[in-house]
Assembly symmetry: D2
Homo-oligomer: 328 residues x 4
């Protein structure tokens, strides 16, 4: 049995708690949140105790921590958890600063604890299926990757201001998917972006519409585009064109019903947002983490994956700001 302490009882913490509930050999022992009501609410639903964050990190009856607290708190929690020998499941981004992620790598490696960076999309059944087939050689060598990722609507402007910018907050998922699917590290990156959705986003110095091009040493190319709005739901599509064929993952729709009228044939919109769209991915990533802790193997994506995605997001930001292509 993997005994888990859950830090952060907000929306994503609740998702993780539900995922743990469905895993026979894992249990949430304790939960903590800066807001007491959030903690006691989730405790009631999971049968866990409420403890304060410090206590969770020091509890002898806890094997692993799930970090779903605000990004700025990750650094300290990771340090404490690593020193206390806890396995760590950490929401992305590990930190907004690459240097601070390098510090975390040091403490994690010195203490030999398992570290899982929660790039949930790798566990989406569709994208995972694509990656397995690419690795199996089903489409030959990867040549062109196209990633289209659009949110249904922008987050509150307050969130955007502390997000590190679109490339670090939103596109980081797509940058990780590019690494995951290309099987090779990018050697150059070019980024461009605009604020088209909301002038407040421009005023905050950020963009809401962006495009990135990555190239690898072998010459494979990946194009990513992001938008902070899509009237038709959460748009999450990837296609990988290879020397022997092409794989693509289409959107998941709200249902399979189609209506035919004089206007044509209309399906449902895409599932609205990440909690729904990635429901199975959240479950599967927790299974992978628990299984790694259980068997003492190193989970993937690990903290190096967290760093590499962050470095790509940093480079994208620099490319966007400078108008130049960046060599990695």
């Amino acid at each position: 049995m993997v005994r888990i302490g859950l830090l952060g009882c907000g929306r994503i913490g609740q998702v993780h708690a539900r995922a743990i509930k469905d895993i026979p050999d894992a249990t949430v022992v304790a939960v903590a949140d800066a807001i007491n009501a959030a903690a006691s609410d989730l405790a009631a639903r999971t049968g866990a105790e409420v403890r304060d964050s410090q206590a969770v990190l020091e509890s002898a009856d806890i094997d692993a921590v799930v970090i779903g607290t605000p990004t700025t708190t990750h650094y300290d929690i990771i340090h404490q958890a690593a020193r206390a020998g806890k396995a760590i499941f950490c929401e992305k981004p590990v930190d907004l600063s690459s240097d601070r992620i390098r510090d975390c790598i040091t403490v994690v490696e010195e203490n030999g604890v398992a570290f899982f960076t929660a790039f949930n999309r790798r566990f989406d059944p569709n994208f995972a299926n694509m990656q397995t087939r690419i690795v199996a050689g089903e489409i030959g060598q990867v040549e062109l990757v196209t990633i289209l990722s659009r949110d249904p609507s922008p987050p509150p402007i307050g969130y955007i201001k502390s997000s590190g910018g679109l490339f670090r907050d939103m596109m980081i998922h797509d940058l990780d998917m590019a690494r995951f699917l290309m099987g090779e590290e990018p050697v150059s990156i070019y980024a461009t972006g605009s604020a088209l959705v909301d002038p407040e986003i421009a005023a905050a110095g950020d963009v809401d519409t962006a495009a990135v091009t990555l190239t690898t040493a072998r010459g494979a190319i990946c194009q990513i585009s992001n938008s902070r709005r899509a009237t038709y739901g959460y748009d999450q599509r990837i296609e990988v064109h290879g020397s022997a064929g092409m794989l693509r993952a289409q959107n998941m729709l709200e249902n399979t019903v189609e209506v035919a009228t004089a206007a044509g044939f209309t399906t449902a919109p895409a599932q609205n947002f990440f909690l729904e769209r990635y429901e199975r991915a959240y479950a599967a990533e927790m299974v992978a983490f628990v299984s790694a802790v259980h068997t003492g193997t190193s989970p993937r994506p690990d903290i190096h994956d967290g760093l590499k995605a962050q470095l790509l997001a940093d480079a994208a930001t620099l490319s966007f700001e400078s108008g130049r292509s960046i060599t990695l």
Copy 2:
């Protein structure tokens, strides 16, 4: 060069004239129509002469006739054409009476002329592709066939009154497709129908919504449904379920464009009606006819196919009127 006389210069005659124009080794020598303007108009467009129907059937410079005149005239024209040794391309139905079709078979066979019954759907690239694959064994033994056929809107009530009824006028195409795809003759038929679209259709003793079930000796089953209306275009779908897989032909849409909005993803409607939907089928059936005349082989579907479909339509009508399943 196959020299053709075209009888009937209405909508379908014009379709056939256009098809002949695109065939290098065929030419329309003469056209005839009860309405002079129709004949001279088509003559001008094709470079053919206007002759009267009688003259066309007697002309020594004509090898084959294409019959696109009203159904009631087919019988006499077929007799004259057969006696004159002309190859015959005849629009469906050959005649509304099975007995009279049997007479036509006699004269056609006595005179040894080629006879093509224009069941155009057999030449639709989609349905033809299905049939080829079924014959090649791609889905094993045929077990269940589902044919969905809906017109965008009913024809004028005047047309309906002289049409022989939905089963003989509209479903006859689907009955022929059932024979074409099952590779076996039906041994029983059950039909039901309703007038839901227009009370005038009921008043005329006909139906506008109908369903038929066919079974073969081997136990394969075919379900057909027809409606005289469909808000979303001309609905023409067939699926064939076999022991080793399933083949289905989807509708052809007006274009491939899809719009995504909060309502979902909307494609174009189906191509509106038969002239557009079966454009390639009309071209291909004429190629098949000309080629048969050219090479002296017997074209298919032939007059026996015309008779067999008619007998199925008669049996469907009888089943509908009696409420009983009919053994064939």
Copy 3:
């Protein structure tokens, strides 16, 4: 809190137990099964007690029973449960004999207990969405319903022998869906069938491939076809054609990934079978049952729906055996 006793701890009982686990205001108090290991296993996973069936039906701490035992046992359990004042959730079919279902209706009504017939497909999000839209008038008057239902492979021959035959065992679901979607009772039924999949099925006097046609007083028509095999997964499609448009529910595929090669574009097969395909339906039907018990309202589908579907299955069987259309 609705306190539930679960009778039958096989595959379907486990599905229901999982569904109850996710409902905040319901709990499984006790489980029973003729096989002790099955009961204790499920008890361990749910935190429920093992009791014998009799005890469950008499326990004062149980408000409702979920009946997932073999069909032959339903009759007695329903009688006892009704007399004990328990709300009843009963797997389909209620019984293989319509007369015995009528007895059950009597005891259920005399004792005023809630009775839910578990036609799970009504709660499938796709089919439920269609029904809501039909009732809302989105496609006008229902004219033609097409239900295609194919299992991936036949059940063991032993199961088939005691199943009551394809019409009562498999098509009963589709017959219920026809009633659900047409909003009107059928007035005639015609059935045909064949044994094409397995000669043992023929030897057992049953069919594995079947087609049914239903008509309503208003003239709406429904065509259903069933097969006990489909190489491409569990095929569950419905389309409803109305005066103002058409609604159709497509299959749910294993994932959204498509591969493009010289062979064309290939998606995943359909989800393999009912546990996967109707996962959400099983959850939703239990929510509906619990909510009805909670609020004291009458759940639907109720025992009359169970009887009506059974009467249609009986009539289909009679039609198949007699070759005649049956008036209801």
Copy 4:
């Protein structure tokens, strides 16, 4: 009647001849080709005379010329045709040198002749439909355009060597589509590319896999990717994401048939190459040209469109060679 002289009787010349044949108020008077057999062959099929190129340009009975000769000959022919007052339909590219295109603009404008640059894709019914709907405001402001364009296989290496490179030969179509759909000129371009398909292409200094990013003054972004291979046919997809919705044009498949097996659901591959895929576009562009000549209006795309696409292709080439983003 628009009387046309056809220069170049190769594959594309034959396509244009066929298109003209279907236009009632246009006729091919004369054809010319450096290879006599090609000219006499096409003359036989169209009923036109064979003349030499010079004669065609000087003939008083010719109103317009269709230029389908090798690119290097365009410059002289355009000059002669313009001075002779002929309307000009010219295959893309007008010339491989922007300066020489500017010369052509001068002579065309001095002589006031109509000039049509044959960017056929603007007349594809799917893409034309998208553009009409964008202009009508159906998806609001254009924000992100994604153009995926892949040939089934690379042209002969000899062709590639004289093609001006992928950006000028292949991507120029996509660059024109970007202008067509965005309704705004690009202000920056970034290009990258690789030779992954054939090492001979690399040896020739060209690429076979490429990606371009365009931005406009308003901040709209367009991503284009090209590959010289696709195992599944000619891949031609465009999507335009706007503030109020998204439009996308899917591939046209060889037919609508789908087969279902244990591998899943497989449709036909995409139509194989441009002659088939753009059959309707070739017909429609000729209709547009003839109609403009007939009515004395200025056809679009005109010679300025030809120049602007060429300038974008030049800039893409420069960006690729320098690794820098280019400001336009």
